[in-house]
Symmetry: C2
Subunit: 204 residues, 2 copies
């Protein structure tokens, strides 16, 4: 039996997904027991099941160090580590358009720290824009449950401002002005495609 | 020190990627020491570095069962299993178009077994076509090092034929007729975008 650092017991018999592991260790998402990732996965499943869009979260990249191959049973990974992603987490297709985004949340009530993104992801977003794809981030302020969509081009502006010695975060007022707030609903919980319809005239 | 089933020693000190693990266990790819996956990753890196396209292989999906959180060091995955993918392995954007494909190879010299694909992937390709994306498979005959691009719509025809009681594979002549052969080159090794330029009039 292995315990989490917080002393909670880990039930090794029950296989859990990476997102479930993350959920167990994520204390920032209030009492709903749902992470932003869960809400987006549910929304994407809603879109998929209704033929609205095909958008998936990529699997978490894992660096595998040791694998056992027991006779007559499945290969077992015995040692592996979480790896930094070189792209964004979500991508897919909607009305013929390539869709690519990253989702992040913060407990900071008034600004979004840019350290939530890393250089690789910023370069990836630039490359996607260069190919005519639609790229953005979904930002959630956990303390107030406010969710915003900010286009990658705007995020890049704030990234450049930081590189030039400016602030290392984006103020919430800036996000509200440069981006669009997404009202959190029921089905789908985070209807980001409605925002894209509006921004890119896709609603017809 | 842990050994592979074939007795080869596993160097636990050196972290290896999933594709490297696959390469070690893949005996079907002749003497080049390169898998079809390696060739496609190299080709995608070529496209990316020249600003031609942004196409990546998705990480291998892993079902995590047990994670240790040692004090002051990275989380270690102690038990995990390879999971079946629910989508195709590769996707991205090229000249504004959503690109989505799966790559498979066979040692069978004369036909490609359809068991190389599973139902989830077939449904995914249908869904991508429904959203106006470009979907296809890259098929390699290992014995002759012949590589073909076959559009998903054609693959679906052969899948339906199988479901209606027909053959469980596609003859190589059928693939050569319905698809396009890709000449294996140097840079990029597998220039599948050139085929797409031609099929979808993207070359302008």
């Amino acid at each position: 039996m292995v315990n989490y650092p917080n002393g909670r017991k880990f039930i090794a018999e029950k296989a859990v997904s990476v997102s479930a592991v993350k959920r167990k260790t994520n204390e920032s998402y209030g009492n709903r027991g749902m992470t932003l990732e869960d809400d987006l996965n549910d929304s994407n499943l809603y879109y998929l099941s209704r033929g609205i869009a095909v958008i998936h979260k990529k699997p978490t990249p894992i660096q595998i160090v040791q694998v056992d191959y027991p006779k007559r049973s499945a290969a077992v990974i015995k040692e592996a580590y979480f790896k930094q992603a070189s792209t964004t987490d979500y991508n897919g297709v909607y009305k013929g358009k390539y869709i690519d985004f990253e989702a992040k949340e913060t407990r900071n009530p008034s600004s979004f720290p840019l350290k939530n993104f890393h250089e690789h992801q910023i370069r990836h977003m630039e490359a996607v824009l260069g190919q005519g794809g639609i790229s953005f981030v979904i930002l959630r302020f956990a303390s107030t449950d406010e969710v915003f969509l900010l286009e990658a081009a705007r995020l890049l502006d704030y990234w450049v401002r930081m590189e030039q010695g400016g602030r290392k975060s984006i103020r919430k007022e800036e996000i509200a002005g440069a981006g669009r707030q997404i009202q959190v609903g029921f089905q789908p919980r985070i209807d980001y495609l409605k925002i894209l319809d509006d921004l890119y005239n896709l609603s017809s």
